[in-house]
């Protein structure tokens, strides 16, 4: 068996948002480190921000918001289940990160004196900072990677993190998706920056890659963390987003909101009570869709011409620029018609919700030498800026860790087993195609896991997933590209099973629609005011346990919490 063997001090897996930052910051901390950034696509255009981003929605800038306000708001928005220290680590570094990105050439909206034009959206703080020309993000990041002399390998699919006898990171393994060549990279430490798990469910259009998330983000990092023995937390807190129907791109209420746009029901009336993009808001959205008041629309046609033109410019040039084309083809003009919206397939994404590979305020997972940042890591509501801040934290702490850490050997049998797993589909000329297996897994996710969650349905899903796990042994891939899809099908199934098991474990309802359990409709703080953690047991199975919520660093005033809740849930009782 031919395996290309390499050695680096630090390997960063995923070159989207957090990854380039982690690699650059590790190199800045210690220029002597050999740092490798790996992407299964091309870093030039990979990840959730491949086409840029139209704004920051969690900017904590002095004079507009304080870190304490931010921590409070996310604590309440996340029903109290947060590691406040990790939130605070983000909040106190947010402004400095914006300044650094500004110096790097990322264009934020400013007023005529050069102050950031921060906009008010949520009631406690002021967090939106538009980036009307945010389509240059990747170019800016690439320039910094070159400047810091980070090594880059594109089109390399990493599939496993191998550990040594002491349980710490020893190597990563994968293959080239153009040649199918196996690669084993010995390393002192690794940072997972693989983004959301956005290909667990099937989008309503039925088009396999028509997902909300960049479909490359299919949960490989979540799966790798699991197999390496790391904790993943609160996976039952799904990501579900309000999207433009069929197109499946974000409706970007945070772009249109400050300019006067809003989410409306079929009668053109506002109905959303909650402030924040949260499970509560999604529950209100879901209820409206199900009620006679649906469908739900994004309404901007009441706005002035110049405002609509501004919205169009931002929405049609950044993040998902094909949106304009989608509307044009259907004859939808923001000036005259409301834009139909729908809810997304489920996923894991800490950027918008709270699930992921469990990390602390230093970016460390529970496996020594393994770090995680961005949408795949567990810090809630982190968005793009949080990915940058945690990328930086991971890069710096991993660089420090590498200095005092020798290479450790990995178990040869583990590498052997992984090589066989990867090569399996290539050796079969007959069998199941990756596309079929993926489609079936994701279709079952929609049938059984999409909230509202019902215990019996989840049990059926687990049975069916078990059958598909056997089918994985029949995957056949005629070439390297199909092999990539086959290995992704493995990761997708792992994520689907984790989603189901974590959801069954938490026997209460919490986070609005994200964990809305029909058999346990009430929130149960007495038994469930805790994180859940999932990890691999000695027998390879998924083990779940409760973890206490870390002590708060910012007290959330009871009356404040109550006031907030009254505002958030005012009408839910009538509609559920």
């Amino acid at each position: 068996m031919n395996v290309l063997e390499q050695e680096f001090d630090l390997v960063v897996i995923g070159g989207g948002t957090a990854g380039p930052m982690a690699a650059v910051k590790a190199k800045e901390r210690n220029p002597k480190l050999r740092v490798l950034l790996v992407d299964k696509a091309n870093v030039k255009r990979s990840g959730a921000i491949s086409m840029g981003m139209d704004g920051l929605n969690n900017a904590v800038i002095p004079g507009h918001a304080t870190p304490e306000q931010y921590v409070k708001e996310i604590t309440v928005a996340n029903d109290g289940i947060v590691d406040q220290e990790a939130l605070m680590a983000y909040a106190t570094r947010s402004a400095a990160m914006i300044d650094e990105l500004d110096r790097w050439g990322v264009k934020f909206e400013k007023d005529e004196t050069g102050d950031y034009a921060v906009r008010k959206v949520h009631h406690l703080g002021t967090y939106v900072l538009p980036m009307p020309e945010g389509h240059h993000m990747k170019r800016v990041l690439y320039r910094q990677l070159k400047r810091a002399r980070v090594d880059i390998t594109n089109r390399l699919v990493v599939t496993r993190v191998l550990t040594g006898p002491d349980g710490s990171v020893a190597a990563v393994m994968g293959f080239d998706c153009r040649t199918a060549e196996l690669v084993l990279i010995r390393t002192r430490a690794a940072v997972l920056c693989t983004g959301a798990a956005g290909r667990i469910g099937l989008p309503a259009s039925g088009y396999l890659m028509g997902t909300y998330e960049n479909p490359t983000n299919c949960g490989d990092g979540h799966s790798m963390a699991f197999h390496a023995g790391a904790d993943l937390s609160n996976l039952e807190c799904f990501q579900i987003n309000p999207l433009i129907k069929d197109y499946n791109g974000p409706a970007c209420a945070y772009v249109t909101g400050p300019l006067g746009g809003y989410t409306a029901n079929g009668k053109g009336e506002r109905f959303i009570e909650s402030d924040y993009w949260s499970g509560q808001m999604m529950l209100e959205f879901y209820n409206e869709l199900q009620s006679g008041n649906g469908p739900v629309f994004l309404k901007v046609n009441h706005l002035a011409e110049e405002t609509i033109a501004q919205i169009e410019t931002i929405l049609h040039s950044n993040e998902r620029p094909s949106r304009g084309r989608f509307h044009e083809r259907r004859g939808t003009d923001y000036r005259h018609s409301m834009i139909e919206m729908h809810i997304s397939e489920i996923g894991f994404c800490s950027g918008h919700s709270a699930s992921g590979i469990r990390i602390n305020a230093r970016g460390e997972t529970s496996v020594r030498g393994l770090y995680a940042a961005g949408d795949c890591a567990s810090v809630p509501h982190n968005y793009m800026l949080g990915a940058f801040v945690y990328g930086k934290l991971c890069g710096e702490h991993a660089a420090e860790y590498c200095e005092g850490k020798d290479f450790v050997p990995h178990a040869p049998e583990a590498a052997q087993a992984e090589a066989q797993r990867i090569l399996g589909p290539l050796g079969r000329s007959e069998g199941l195609t990756p596309q079929q297996v993926e489609y079936k897994t994701r279709r079952l996710v929609n049938d059984y896991l999409q909230p509202p969650k019902i215990t019996r349905k989840y049990e059926i899903a687990l049975q069916r997933f078990e059958e598909i796990r056997e089918d994985l042994q029949q995957l056949a891939a005629p070439g390297p590209h199909e092999l990539m899809r086959a290995m992704e099908a493995h990761a997708i199934l792992d994520c689907a099973e984790m989603a189901a098991r974590a959801s069954l474990f938490r026997t209460e309802s919490r986070w609005g629609l994200y964990h809305h359990c029909v058999d346990h409709p009430q929130r149960d703080d007495e038994n469930w005011f805790c994180h859940t953690a999932l990890r691999r047991g000695a027998d390879g199975s998924m083990q779940l346990r409760k973890l206490a919520v870390e002590p708060y660093v910012v007290a959330v005033d009871e009356s404040e919490k109550a006031a907030y809740h009254r505002l958030r849930v005012a009408r839910v009782a009538e509609t559920v």
Binding site: N42, P215, R329, R330, E430
Partner: protein, 77 residues
Amino acid sequence: MTIALSPTQVPVRVNEEKCIADKGCTVCVDVCPLDVLAIDLVKGSAFMKYDECWYCLPCEQDCPTQAIEVDIPYLLR
């Protein structure tokens, strides 16, 4: 043999007149996050080999000769 090929209309259209893949250009193939584009060595132009498109547009925007047009996949239109 039990594996069939199912034809499908793909969203990426390449203008073969404008495409300069024959001169060694691989920009669109390089930037595609899903790696679904390839070069037809006989025709000397790029084409969409796998119907796995996120309609994200780097191929179209980064093409040096504006040879690519990305449509919204039929199932979404």
